[in-house]
Amino acid sequence: MPPAGEETFVAGALSARDAEDMLYCGFQAGALEGAVRDLVQTGALARDFAAFRVDRRAVVVACAMRTPPSGGDICCPGPLSPGPALAFGATPLEFLRCAAGKGTSPASARAGGRSWTDVRRGLVACEGPAGGMTQVMAGVAFAFQRRGQSRAALVFEDRRAVETGRWHEGMSFATALRVPLIVVLASVPGAQASAFDPAAAAANYGLEAVSLAGEPLSRVHERVAAARRRAVEGGGPSLLDLGPRHVDDEWNETQLAEWPGGGQVARRRAEKAAVAAVQSAVARLAAEPAPQSADALASALSDAPMLPHWTRDDPPNPGARRPALAGHERFGESRRPEPPNPGDGTHAIVGEPGSGHIRPSLPDPPDAD
């Protein structure tokens, strides 16, 4: 239950379009779940993805961060869960490319899984051992604080991340500096309960952990918006606990009907568009070429080729890999600028936030009533 004295949800604060955005992202998440299941069955995706699920409530959390007057927030979606990324503008095709290791741009083919860092669109990918992204996002939030911007950072962690020292060090930094960071603990279904109570973990940092378990979507949205306001006003970090997942409860008739703009017409329109977007992504994925192995040679440093040396007056070096191919021309080739693809999102640009809505303008579906 929400504590007494909290401000209540003002549905009117959401424009119809914002509300529909959320519906669109939620339905997209569901469609993506289905598409991944199918692709695993056909062998197009590795079996690791069989357990793939998207937390719809995490989508709602991420959408709430994008509700005006917000803008320029940065979000780190949880491991393997693209829901919040969709809300921040990642496309289903990007997700599928990462999962399949396809695409010609570096991230999708090189790092797999969830490599969509693109701070232009407000995305930082979750990479590396559990718990670590709380540290990184605390630093993102620090950058906002340092520049005096009204922006906040949002990070999703598995509930068991609270067992890691990394998570605690991230929280300790965020609290000591009072940066605008919102930490959300989420679980995939079947997640083992942690030995630790998130509420107690929050108290350790002088925070109150807001439990969102069993709350309706509108309430989730409202609590996140409140935490965000608090963060950008200098109130410091928040910890929100989505609790264990109950998939059927989180995106059902009752939940949706209550959602502003959740009426039948809008819902069907959003759902149709979402399903169509995922279908087209699946089709495009199949048609995309496998990546070129030359990409593997692009340097891990920004200013140096990674090729083993091979010059004419040296004794030739067979220890260098594939010497016949190792000429510098070849490396030059792999550095050719790629065809611009602004929606691709796999090339990060460090700079100022983008803005605006993330959903393509949707025509009414023909059978709208």
């Binding site: 090189r110 790092a111 797999g112 990479e127 068991r160 890691t164 020292g165 593997a296 040679l297 891990a300």
Partner: protein, 362 residues
């Protein structure tokens, strides 16, 4: 805080004295190959070694993520919890530094912990405690710390940069540690037993590409056997060229040696087995015989183990060298995820063969 509150039963130690196994259940399938007279995979060999050492020595116990109730991410410890109980098969929080530190404490008290990293990539959070605390214990006069950290390593499984690493070079520079990296089921079992019986901390790497592959199955000795740490193995004799390698690459190098043999080049393949301390004498002996040295490792090139071997051979076999010491290694990059990139990144049989031919002609 009343002190007379009864402890929660679920968390209680098994009994007043040493913990007793819950029941003498039948050994699980993956530890029964040898006793059934069947060949064992690499994974089964590791599993057998753990089981037998735990039966032999009650001080040995396991810690790691999901190794108990779940049986381990690779099911390597399936059935261990039932046989040895929760005080010898310890499911830990997701905190590799924390449970490695705890293993060190248990080792101070005379226990012999075997820590599993679910993927060896996750040893990095334990880097601090391993290099600063564990590796320095004997030196500081705090006594030997017998503990083993083991787990799956290596590329080729399309698992991307965070589940494909080789970790030897993170620890190779740390005095006080041993590093073992076996290439066959027989070696895996015998070396793991030695590692568990060793008084020093040991990092034990198991290549995922060897775990289940049927073609690496081997009939293991029926009796208890251990293979000494620090001794290399001549995997193939030859006198034209020495190839020094370890782990999965041993098999790639043997394939390359086959190809070279078809050209009349007789390569000697040395499987290091233990990387630290290194069996330098074995390499010296071979290089003095062949006068050519090629080093092959799956790990990335710069700062790889090939450098240390090269300078040691400069120190001890320079006069015998008839060509440069060369290496074949992975490209200096994180491990790529996509299959074609990963295949290109990893050293191939063709790479080794080409380098061998070149060096032979030199």
């Amino acid at each position: 805080m009343p002190t007379d509150a009864p402890p929660e039963p679920a968390q209680q130690p098994g009994g007043a004295g040493e913990a007793q196994p819950a029941a003498r259940t039948a050994p699980p399938e993956q530890v029964a190959r040898t006793r059934m007279g069947q060949p064992a995979t690499f994974l089964e060999a590791v599993s057998e070694a753990l089981w037998e050492e735990m039966e032999r020595d009650e001080r040995v116990f396991l810690l790691g993520e999901d190794i108990g109730a779940y049986g381990g991410a690779f099911k390597l410890t399936k059935g261990f919890l039932e046989r040895f109980g929760p005080l010898r098969v310890v499911d830990t929080p997701i905190a590799e530094g924390g449970f490695t530190g705890a293993a060190a404490g248990a080792a101070h008290m005379g226990l012999r912990p075997v820590v599993e990293m679910q993927f060896m990539d996750f040893i990095s959070p334990a880097y601090d405690v391993l290099t600063n605390y564990v590796a320095t214990s004997l030196y500081r006069g705090a006594g030997p710390l017998p503990l083993v950290v083991r787990g799956p390593v290596g590329g080729g499984a399309r698992a991307g940069p965070f589940h494909s690493q080789n970790v030897e070079m993170a620890f190779f520079h740390t005095p006080g540690l041993k590093i073992v990296y076996p290439s066959t089921p027989r070696d895996a079992k015998g070396l793991l037993k030695s590692a568990i019986r060793d008084d020093n901390p040991v990092i034990f790497e198991e290549h995922k590409g060897l775990y289940r592959a049927p073609r690496f199955r081997e009939l293991l000795p029926a009796e208890d056997y251990a293979i000494p740490l620090g001794k290399a193995r001549v995997a193939l004799e030859g006198d034209d060229l020495t190839i020094v390698t370890y782990g999965l690459m041993v098999h790639r190098c043997l394939e390359a040696a086959d190809a070279l043999a078809r050209d009349g080049i007789r390569a000697e393949v040395i499987d290091l087995r233990t990387l630290l301390p290194m069996d330098e004498d074995a390499v010296v002996a071979s290089v003095r015989k062949t006068s050519k040295l090629l080093i092959v490792h799956e790990d990335t090139r710069t700062g790889g183990i090939a450098g240390e071997i090269a300078i040691r051979m400069n120190e001890r076999a320079f006069e015998w060298l008839d060509g440069p010491i060369l290496r074949v290694a992975a490209i200096d990059s994180p491990v790529p995820f996509a299959a074609p990139l990963e295949d290109y990144f990893l050293p191939s049989v063709g790479d080794v063969t080409a380098a061998g031919r070149y060096l032979h002609k030199y």
